[in-house]
Structure formats: C-alpha cells, structure tokens
C-alpha cells in the first residue's frame, strides 16, 4: 500500500526544492533591493518560513479543522460513516482509525489532514452525507485515506506553507515599495551603480509579481497529480471504482458552493471547491484534475481495480503516453486487482468466479484476492428526507446536543448548556426531566 508514498517522496523533494529556490531568490533580491543587504532579506524569508512551518507541522491539522468549522463525531453520532472509515482503515492497512469530523455545509465535499498515518483525520460535509449512498461514500473516504497513505496530507501542507511564505514576502515587498522604496533611490541616483540599480529594481518588481504565481503553479502541479494517485488508491482499497466515479459525478453537478474556503485550503478537498466550470479540461491553474476526466478514467478501468488498470485507463482517457502510476508501484502486488461486484448489480454473481481463483494458482504477482460482497443488503435511509435527518442529527450530536423522544411524536434536542431541570414540549405540553435526555 505504500508504493506510491515512496515514489511520491522523491518527487516531493523536487517540488520542495523548486519552492525553496523561489523563496531564497525572493528573499535575496528583496533584501538587496529594500534593505541594501541580501542577508537581511534571506533572514526575513527564512524566519517567516520556519515559523509557518512549525505551526503547520504541529498544529496544521487542528488549525485546518478549526477554520473549516469541523466538529468531531463519535460512532453513535453517525454509525454508517464510522463503519465505512473503519472498513477503509482495514482495507488500506492504515495503522490507526482516523478521527472523523463533520462540517455543517450543504456543499458535498471532504478532506483529510494529519502529518502521520497514525494520527490523521477525515472530514466530510453534511452535504456529502446527504447526497451519497454507501458505496459512493466509501469511495470518497477511500480517496481521502489514499491521501493519508500517500503522505499527501503532510506534503501539501508543507508546500502550502512555502506558498504562503512567498505570498507574505511579496506582500511585504509590495508595501515597502510604496512606503520605503523611494528613500534608497535618491541616495544612489548619480553613482556609477545606477544602471545596475535600475536593472535590480526591475528584476525585483518582476519577481514580486511573478513569484506568487510561479509558486502557485508549482503547488498546483504537485496537487493535481496527487488527486489521480489518490483515485487509484481508492480503487484498490474499495475494489469498486464505480463507487468513487459516481460520487465524483454527483459532487460535481451539485450547484452548492462551500462557505469557508480559500486558495490555500482548496487543494485539500476531494473536488476543488473554487473551480467554476467543474467539468473543464485540465489546466495549469487548476488544483484538481478535471472531474470529468477523473470519472472517465475510473469508469474505463474495465473490471480491474489495480494500478495497471488505472494507468491504462488514464492513458486512454487523457491521451498522454506517460504513465501516471510510478513504475515501482506497477510491479507490486497491487498492480493487478480484480474489482468486486456491485451490491445491487443483478448481473454480478458474487462468490463464484472471483473467489474460485485459488490464490496459490495465481502465483506471487496476483496475490490479492477480490473482496466479494457477501451480503446484498445495505442498510441506509431510503428517502432523501430521512437521510438529511440522519445527517442533521449527527451534527447536533457532534455539538453535544442530547435527544428526548416525546410520546407526541416530536423529538426534542437539548443543547449541552441547557440549565433548567425540565423541558416542556412545544407540541403537547408534556414535561420531561432534562436528565432523561440521551
């Protein structure tokens, strides 16, 4: 399961190096230009970066969850979501079950955070729970756990910090250009270095304008590829590429936008929340690959769920000749993995053709067997209204509300800071002791 993480590590070094180069260059040029010493600029750049990195490394997860308005839930708040996360933890061999958070937001989306696989967290919006069925939800959770396993969560937050530092630096430079930049020119205007000064100043200006854009491009290029890889991981974990495909399709046609979102947090989500035309082609400026392509690739996997099936489908759909899956991963046990059959698919015949293949007959390469669906029954609310109810209740519970069912048919939801000893039902006037809430 860690093949992609290993190969990603090498590529991450390149991205981090490019970003660092840009940061150093900016610090140097700005220092030279505004404070007459490159060292000062470098120092400023370095200090900003170190401080942000320390915050991101140790508190990034909590900061991110907090700004997104995520609330942690327990198993009894939303059993199905909990079960799905546990199933995917088993399938992905993640060392610990991630913490689960719900965000009260009607736009369907999800993200994962955490620098280590054993202390990660997954957050989903209420809109996601309302729109997706069990298989689809499983696909999205698998995609997020894919990000955790592939170490995208750590890498993207560190790269995001560098991007942030560059943006802050260029902002400082822009301001000092207006307020303090003039002083220097008058002092050196007639000296022989004047021309060099002009060139340096132009270079500084160009860098100030370009660096944030360049940094963003590096950041986006890194994040886009990781989305494809997390999709490939999701297919392997679930053995059901259609689950994620259909989820992505549903999410992308939803007209609702996330409320709390910005440029830096956007790449963390399953689907880019800022993208305007969601089905547009891949472009340099998109954090996520086009959703249409992602869906098409997943649907072209032709019965397989392994890396090779994903790679072939990727090439067929995008027309690229370069492989998306690192070659080292294509050599592992997860290269060839058959899909399982969909629960409600009448054509499927679980337990016959797939389970019959004795593993010993498959040799070492095809070591992984398919996860046959043993039971057709998937228990989940049938009507959309009931599903919304389930999600809303999970949100109430995540905020510490306790419930009292009133015999008149109403349900009373009591806030954690409720102080009276009893509660009168609005509908029937019955008195309930507050302590009876659970």
């Amino acid at each position: 399961m860690w093949e992609i993480a290993r190969s990603n590590k090498r590529k991450s070094v390149i991205f981090v190096f490019l970003m660092a180069l840009l940061l150093v260059l900016m610090g140097g040029v700005f220092g030279e230009h505004f404070a007459q010493s490159a060292e000062t600029g470098l120092l400023v750049a370095f200090v900003i970066w170190v401080i942000l990195s320390i915050i991101a490394y140790f508190q990034g997860r909590n900061v991110f969850l907090a700004v997104s308005g995520a609330h942690k839930i327990r198993k009894e708040d939303h059993p199905r979501l909990f079960n799905i996360v546990e199933e995917m933890t088993i399938a992905s061999l993640l060392p610990a079950i991630p913490e689960i958070y719900i965000i009260d937001d009607p736009a369907p989306n999800a993200f994962a955070v955490g620098r280590k696989p054993d202390s990660a967290a997954v957050a989903v919006t209420s809109g996601l729970l309302n729109t997706l069925n069990r298989d689809e939800l499983q696909g999205v959770i698998a995609h997020e756990i894919g990000h955790i396993i592939n170490r995208d969560t750590l890498f993207m937050s560190m790269l995001g910090v560098m991007l942030g530092s560059i943006v802050i630096l260029s902002e400082i430079a822009r301001r000092s250009l207006f307020f303090g930049g003039g002083r220097r020119r008058t002092r050196t205007s007639s000296s022989g270095g004047g021309q060099i000064q002009v060139i340096l100043m132009i270079a500084g200006l160009v860098l100030m304008l370009l660096a944030p854009i360049l940094a963003r491009l590096i950041y986006l290029a890194a994040s886009r590829k990781r989305e494809y890889l997390a999709d490939a991981s999701a297919a392997i974990f679930t053995r059901l590429p259609e689950g994620l495909a259909s989820a992505l399709e549903k999410i992308s046609v939803s007209p609702i936008r996330l409320r709390k979102i910005n440029q830096v947090t956007a790449p963390m989500y399953t689907i880019n929340p800022l993208q305007n035309m969601k089905l547009a082609e891949d472009s340099l400026f998109s954090t996520h690959p086009s959703t249409l392509n992602r869906v098409r690739i997943l649907r072209s996997m032709a019965g397989g769920s392994g890396y090779d099936a994903y790679d072939a489908a990727f090439r067929a759909v995008t027309g690229q000749t370069r492989a998306i899956i690192p070659p080292s991963a294509l050599k592992t046990a997860h290269a060839t993995v058959p899909s399982r059959s969909r629960r409600s698919d009448p054509k499927s015949d679980p337990g016959t053709d797939q389970t019959k293949q004795a593993p010993s007959a498959m040799g070492m390469a095809g070591a992984v067997l398919t996860a046959a669906v043993l039971m057709d029954a998937a228990a989940e609310p049938v009507t959309p209204a009931a599903k919304v109810r389930e999600t809303t209740d999970a949100i109430w519970k995540s905020r510490g509300y306790r419930f009292i069912p009133c015999p008149c048919g109403a349900a009373l939801k009591v806030p954690p800071d409720y102080r009276r000893t009893d509660i009168v039902c609005l509908r029937c006037g019955r008195k309930h002791p507050a302590a009876s809430a659970s």
Binding site: A386, T392, Y401, C425, L426, R427
Partner: protein, 133 residues
Amino acid sequence: MECPVCRESMIVIEYDDIELDYCVGCMGVWFDAGEIELMLGKSGIPFPSEALRFRVADTDARELRRPCPLCGKTMQKVCPEHGRVILDRCPAGEGIWFDAGEIREVIKESAGAAGDIVLGALRRYLGEALAEK
C-alpha cells in the same frame, strides 16, 4: 442558539422532518427563513402569501429591540401587512421570532377566514402551542 428574550439556550424540536427552535423559559418560537412555508406545504396547503407579508412596524413599539439569534444583528419590529401584532424579524432575512401566542394571533387576524385552515394545518406541528389560553 440563544433565546433573544431570556438569553437561555433554546431547545430544538423536530417533527415530521421540520425543525424549530423554541425557548422553554418564554415559549417563544424561532422560524428559520422558509420554515413556515415548508410546514404549510407539507400539510398540503398552498401557502397564502398575503397572510404573512410584513410591513415595518411603527417606531414607538413598546417592546425592547432584540438581537437575531442567528446573526446577532438587531431585529426589526414588523407587523403583518393587515394586522397589528408586532413581531421581530432579522434584517438579514435569517428568520422571524414569535413570542408565545403570537403565531395564533397573526394567523387569526391576517388570514381572515382562511386563518382557521392554516391554524389547523400548523397544529400538526405546533399542537398545544396554538391552543387558546
């Protein structure tokens, strides 16, 4: 959410997939935007739009000004277009606050003959809260 009158934590009551907030201290009820329409729609009554159109109430309203429980902005004093009951409405359109008994009064006085039907429909959700005291 806090009751705009008593500052107590309000209880959420859910019935037939509709949720309302009310205060046990004063039995006032908060309707999020669109919830009355939703209730009537669920009861099969096309919403009589003229029944709940509001105008800004005369400024000498005796009641204290209250904050919107959702956004915190001071609520406007409003009256039904053809009535005299004074209600509090969020200026940002988040919802309306009814003091105890006000729902009944509003429907009675502004919906005229249709009022009884509307009352009957809402009784499904609000039950005792609509009974004459």
